[in-house]
Symmetry: C2
Subunit: 478 residues, 2 copies
């Protein structure tokens, strides 16, 4: 038994996956998890659906309760912020809510500090009624504001014992807003457009670039933009938001140029950044992306210090280089692998493929790999793409829906580099076929010859992915 504990900083996906796995593999090992907030082990990705009202209670979003965690033999310490790391002394400094500082030694340390929502460069984000959506307290406050005046309570939202009561009570006293501006048309912006629309709000989405969902490419974006408009959302593309303005409470959104609209709520979702300040001046190096640099086992440049989750890089299967793609599965998987490694049975954290799926009202969207031609060129490839539109099922079978697949390959080698998909019928799940092909280093010719399932209720004879591969393979031959 090691004298000092395995110390984990951050009590969410990566941190608790590591703690749980380590404890399971080596039950005698002492494992201490510090979490600066009250919430632990919650499903970030579920928060838009809590705001929408499809998920009733905040606690429904918890994978594990603190009691569950304690039952696993993990020493969980909530409301304890780790404020410093000393890699020479192999210890961390922990601050209590009362402001006291204590030292904690470690044998192994996992930095799983996550990420935070950006608000820059928009001014006025400190006004009342301006939100980010990063964590359950944000979700609770937004939903409190949306519910009929005076109705929401910390208890009715299922936040008992955890939630920021003062914030919930303040927004519960609001008359429900009528017009909301969403600044940023990424995942969160698109998902929250759906959530706000469900509450009957007049929803405006502002996007600086010419398309929403940038990483999903143009073919997906165009379909999603049509969907958003059909659902009553007003899109302001190529529009830069300058500031949110109001007297204490947000009243107006002003764009560069002349555009301005009256709003009584705003959500700023312009991206996230890794939480790396804890290790900024230590022996733990950052990568080019600004996230913590790691190797294939999640090891940082400092001895026995690991990093995982939204604060860390991971190796991208297409480029072979380390990149920052903060997503839920990556965090869970890397955490779990590191837990096993710390327990004495080293396991690689696994490559990432940049696989992401998102629901935009009725449209299911997926993307994987590298689809942007500029980025593929930077990675040394000569990209060729094809986009096809086909049916999700045999054309004669009820419910067949248009499905758009775009695939990108390297001209010289034929190697698949990435793909996107959009459609209303089982589209998102099909991106997993492309992800698996990418991780198998397949060429487009190999993808074209995949023996995928066919039955009229589920797919046409040639699955949409196969049709795209067939067309792209034809282009490569030219």
């Amino acid at each position: 038994m090691t004298a000092e504990p395995f110390v984990v900083v951050g009590g969410d996906a990566a941190g608790l996956s590591a703690a749980s796995k380590c404890k399971r593999e080596d039950p005698d090992r002492e494992v201490v998890v510090f979490e600066k907030g009250r919430w632990v082990s919650y499903a970030h990705c579920g928060t838009p659906y809590f705001v929408k009202g499809e998920v009733e209670r905040l606690t429904d979003l918890l994978t594990l309760s603190p009691d569950d965690i304690e039952e696993r033999g993990i020493d969980l310490r909530r409301e304890r912020e780790v404020v410093a790391v000393d890699t020479d002394a192999r210890s961390v400094t922990v601050r209590t809510p009362a402001g006291e500082r204590r030292e904690q030694s470690y044998s192994d340390l996992l930095v799983a500090t996550g990420a935070h929502a950006l608000t820059a460069p928009v001014d006025g984000t400190d006004l009342d009624g301006v939100f980010s959506l990063h964590g359950l307290d944000d979700a609770a406050a937004i939903r409190a504001a949306l519910e009929p005046e005076g109705e929401a309570t910390p208890e009715s939202l299922g936040g008992d014992g955890y939630v920021d009561r003062e914030r919930v009570e303040r927004y519960a006293a609001w008359a429900p807003p009528e017009t909301v501006a969403i600044v940023g048309g990424g995942y969160v912006g698109v998902e929250m457009a759906e959530a706000f629309t469900a509450h009957g709000l007049d929803v405006h989405v502002f996007q600086r670039g010419d398309h929403v969902l940038g990483p999903f490419g143009e073919a997906v974006a165009e379909r999603v933009e049509t969907e958003l408009r059909e659902q009553g959302v007003t899109l302001h593309l190529d529009t830069e938001v300058d500031r949110l303005a109001g007297e204490g409470r947000v009243e107006r959104l002003e764009c560069t140029g002349d555009t301005a609209i009256d709003v009584d709520m705003a959500l700023v979702g312009v991206g996230i950044r890794p939480n790396v300040s804890l290790v900024a001046d230590t022996a733990v190096d950052l990568g080019e992306s600004g996230a913590v640099a790691v190797d294939d086992y999640g090891r940082t440049s400092a001895e026995d210090v690991y990093a995982a989750g939204d604060c860390a890089e991971a190796r991208h299967t297409v480029t072979g280089e380390f990149d920052w793609v903060p997503l839920g599965l990556t965090a869970n998987r890397a955490g779990r692998a590191i837990g096993q490694t710390v327990a004495g049975d080293p396991k690689p954290t696994g490559d990432i493929a940049g696989t992401a799926v998102v629901k935009a009202f009725e449209q299911e969207c997926g993307r994987v790999g590298i689809v942007d031609h500029e980025r593929t060129r930077e990675a040394g490839f000569d990209p060729v793409s094809e986009t096809i539109t086909t049916a999700s099922r045999s054309g004669y079978y009820p419910g067949a829906a248009e499905t758009v697949v775009s695939l990108t390959a390297d001209r010289e080698t034929g190697r698949l580099l990435g793909g996107t998909i959009v459609g209303t019928d089982r589209a998102a799940v099909r991106i997993d076929t492309v992800a698996t092909a990418l991780e198998g280093d397949m060429t487009v010719g190999e993808v074209e010859n995949l023996d995928l399932g066919y039955a009229p209720p589920f797919s046409p004879v040639w699955d949409p992915v196969l049709t795209a591969a067939k067309v792209l393979n034809g282009s490569l031959d030219e």
Copy 2:
């Protein structure tokens, strides 16, 4: 330009894919397709949904009409049965409806004669009201029998000009049956149980073995059996049907032992066999499976003679051996490749993985590779399997449904050998992930580390396939 034409025997998936591709690649090439029946280019797999009534017209099931085919420059000759092949003379003998025989020379020949439904060892299958479901005439007759007395006509069924009028008219005169026996619980049996139930019939399924859907393994079968029973279907497992009896028209089904039930309709779906009689006494060799032996380009043992589709073997990606797995995509793909090869640009037909999906009422089922332990052992592997049950979406998201995944791997190498899946929410499409992993020769450890898509509406953080791989990988370590 070759003097003699490319001759194709059989005007369905494989034959017309080959003809179309050859003509597209080499427009000057003469391509002649002989089809013994009137129907061409029809979707076999859609016939249960025509019987059910979800597909309105028989012609909806045609991928290409004869006119479409002629427009492609293909010389299509329907109602012309090829009755002999002379590989020395490089010619085939064709019989016209009038009984005349004519010789047709070929430069290249594709045997795409398909398969036929077995009825043995059940006696009495020649009684009125006993059907197989193999082709559109069967589908038309069954649906005519199900519709109110005197209502169905060749025209109302959308069979104008093609359908067996006499048979449709005869069954249209029937009072709709009340009790139907389905002999055989394979794909067709399960799909037709759904179709007959939709018409309000009392449906009995007889299965000789202890489970329906044998190739899908026990985990899928058990769930499907529960589903069938919940939908009102009576299952007779471990029950061998001896004979169908009646005076001209089927009235009773008798099993080995004492069981007998009164029925007024029966469907026999106990399997299919390749149509190989055409080449039985020629230089075209058959494989061990009884289907035509081919190489990776679909070439038979006879010079310039190819075979594809339900009459031919194909190489299985798991065993590396040739096997007979008659499925729609395989036929289309092999046909297309052979068309390209014949046009002068050789292309392999592609491996098969035995991927199959089927809908059983609300349950979506998928299977791929080799999942039967005895068969894996015969192929030289030491199989280990694990079966898991998990949610199809994040547990808190509405519509999450139980999904059962079973994976099989080789103990020594960890190589994935096969898998099955069943569930009501996007289950079938997920088998494509397993199929792609199989064709990428992945180990279970590699599957466990796949970066699959995650968003609450579509999957849990760990996709069901990943969870299964994680558990199986744990077992392999033991």
